[in-house]
Symmetry: C2
Subunit: 345 residues, 2 copies
DNA sequence: CTGTTAGCGCCTTCAG
DNA sequence: CTGAAGGCGCTAACAG
């Protein structure tokens, strides 16, 4: 009923608004982008006209003329899986609060897909970009640099590189877990991990474990490293496999939490008792960790914080503000029931 | 090293490509949008030029000139929570496969936020839009209609309305659950549900239960309906509350699966045994359903299918193809261990 | 504080 | 099958 019907077929343009308000288009533009420099009087007139005509600025035209799209991109390995969801939710929240629109894509841990998506996003003119992990095609960095698009790498920290990162130290976190288990007396370790070639976080966690073991003169042979796609179901299978070894491990470090859930569930099917027969650790501290029986000893990672900080960083960067270099986030081992000293026999 | 350095500061434009290829910009445009009408010879020249200069079309300019942004929007209640993640992942996959870019936002079940996001997306020129559920501000439909933007409502089916929907019948699904429990002999029901005012799917599920009960001369009073934000933790609390009633229910229907998980975990704390002391049902059949003890009787909903079909529908619509009216998807009760006849006493 | 003037990069008739 | 010309809606100097 409103004045909507004025432009049912053709949306009102800035020109229309300007005419209706009796000002020049440029003034309307100012009203929109820099209201402070417009006199209250004309401001009012423009405001009236805008809501009367139900005017909505044309973002593409704006992008074309201003070189700023007000869109921010995010590429995650997977939208499914709770692994990145909390961070993405926080990211989207901050991003939209700042008036930006979020563009997302998932690459399924596939570098080619990632590259394709980034190209598409760049073509769409995204102003900034969130990436997960630290291993990305060099061409990507070149592209981003050429187009001067700010970006952050999340879930990682690589002080030696010059890429801005927001995350925690996966290697140290995993080493801490290994140390905790060694303190309990474990020496026979196994690890269930995502593909270490394609997933740099998984890789770093493995390194952390290996380093920690080495420091105490221990090691983990390759047969005790099981690489799987991340899911509880895969965790079950991996667990079964590991426990069927002639010499089963006394502690299993799961590089991703769903593996740990699967392992714990499967232990019941196998008639094994956690932690008496085998200790299990997770990674992330998802909601199920405290509810499952036995509850899961794991490392708590600041997921929403990663998302929120990443957004803050990018937005600050876009706003031209001073941007504090993000420092690695803290990570904490949550001790629950799934670990115990190895049983002697 | 490539010819990338040609335009480090300023990206190559179509004009640049045209000049390099010795043709007119219009021809390059054709090559991009309608290759078939370009001769193989010039096609080759243009191709060369494009990859030599590392040319990437400027999406905003394209949108401005063509009125098509090649972006598709999706607004979901939450990116977190596995509730919509599988569907969104499938949606994104199809969408990007078709060359579109996905724009997303979450509205936290808040109508105002949803409206704001839609406006923003429309301003950005999205070509199509995915929405969740059937209750949306009338202004939204008007806007979409005015701008002629195809859309789908997902997770719902409302044949009486003229909105295209892709989903299943929540009411019937819930009624089936109630019937299943009544067949087992239950008469004292409770339901744990998300806010029924803000979440139309939750509302429909409640109606389904109520209707089914009524058909057999039963009913559920308001004290046995507990409304909570969706999470296992809330499910625990709701369960505790319900079981502390002087006359506890013998069957609890959970409108969302996390509630059921929480209820089952909490039952152990309370020294109750499921299903002996109380039967519990879920809704969605998430991965945990089969792993938890007791495993969860629930209704399996075709989540990725919803996402994939929604994408197919919208893309077909955009392509101008004949679009079959989507029919309601099937839903299936998965009988596991969490339900049994009520114990007599 | 406001109006004028040029484009931004591409698509789309319309001719040829 | 290809080229030329105009404009999509907005912003960004530049004057006034």
């Amino acid at each position: 009923m409103k004045a909507t019907d004025i432009n049912l077929s053709k949306s009102a343009t800035m020109g229309d608004v300007a005419r209706a308000a009796g000002v020049a288009p440029a003034t309307v533009s100012r009203y929109l982008n820099n209201p402070d420099v417009v006199s209250p009087k004309t401001k009012h007139k423009i405001d009236q006209a805008i809501r009367a005509m139900n005017y909505v600025p044309h973002a593409a035209a704006r992008t074309l003329a201003s070189k700023k799209s007000r869109m921010i991109g995010a590429i995650v390995p997977s939208l499914d899986s709770n692994l990145f969801a909390p961070a993405l939710e926080a990211f989207q929240s901050q991003v939209s609060k700042a008036g930006y629109t979020l563009v997302v894509a998932s690459d399924n841990y596939d570098a080619e897909q990632e590259f394709k998506h980034i190209n598409q996003m760049v073509s769409h003119g995204i102003d900034a970009l969130l990436l997960v992990g630290s291993s990305h095609d060099e061409a990507i960095y070149q592209l981003l640099k050429a187009k001067q698009i700010p970006y952050v790498l999340t879930w990682t920290t690589t002080p030696q590189e010059e890429h801005p990162c927001i995350g925690f130290n996966n290697k140290i976190a995993a080493a801490n877990v290994a140390n905790y288990l060694m303190d309990l007396g474990h020496t026979k370790f196994a690890m269930i991990s995502n593909n270490i070639k394609r997933n740099d976080r998984a890789h770093k966690r493995l390194l952390g474990v290996r380093d920690a073991l080495a420091l105490r003169g221990l090691s983990m042979s390759d047969e005790y490293l099981v690489e799987r796609p991340i899911s509880a179901e895969q965790g079950r299978e991996a667990f079964r496999l590991l426990m069927s070894r002639s010499e089963p491990p006394t502690a299993i470090i799961c590089g991703s939490e769903p593996f740990a859930y699967g392992a714990i569930f499967e232990s019941k099917h196998l008639g094994l008792e956690v932690p008496r027969d085998v200790s299990i650790t997770g990674f992330d501290d998802m909601w199920l960790a405290s509810l499952i029986t036995p509850s899961l000893t794991t490392v708590r990672t600041p997921q929403q914080k990663v998302g929120a900080l990443a957004a803050d960083y990018l937005i600050a960067k876009l706003t031209g503000k001073d941007v504090a270099l993000p420092t690695p986030l803290e990570v904490e081992i949550i001790v629950r029931e799934s670990c115990a000293p190895p049983s002697k026999h």
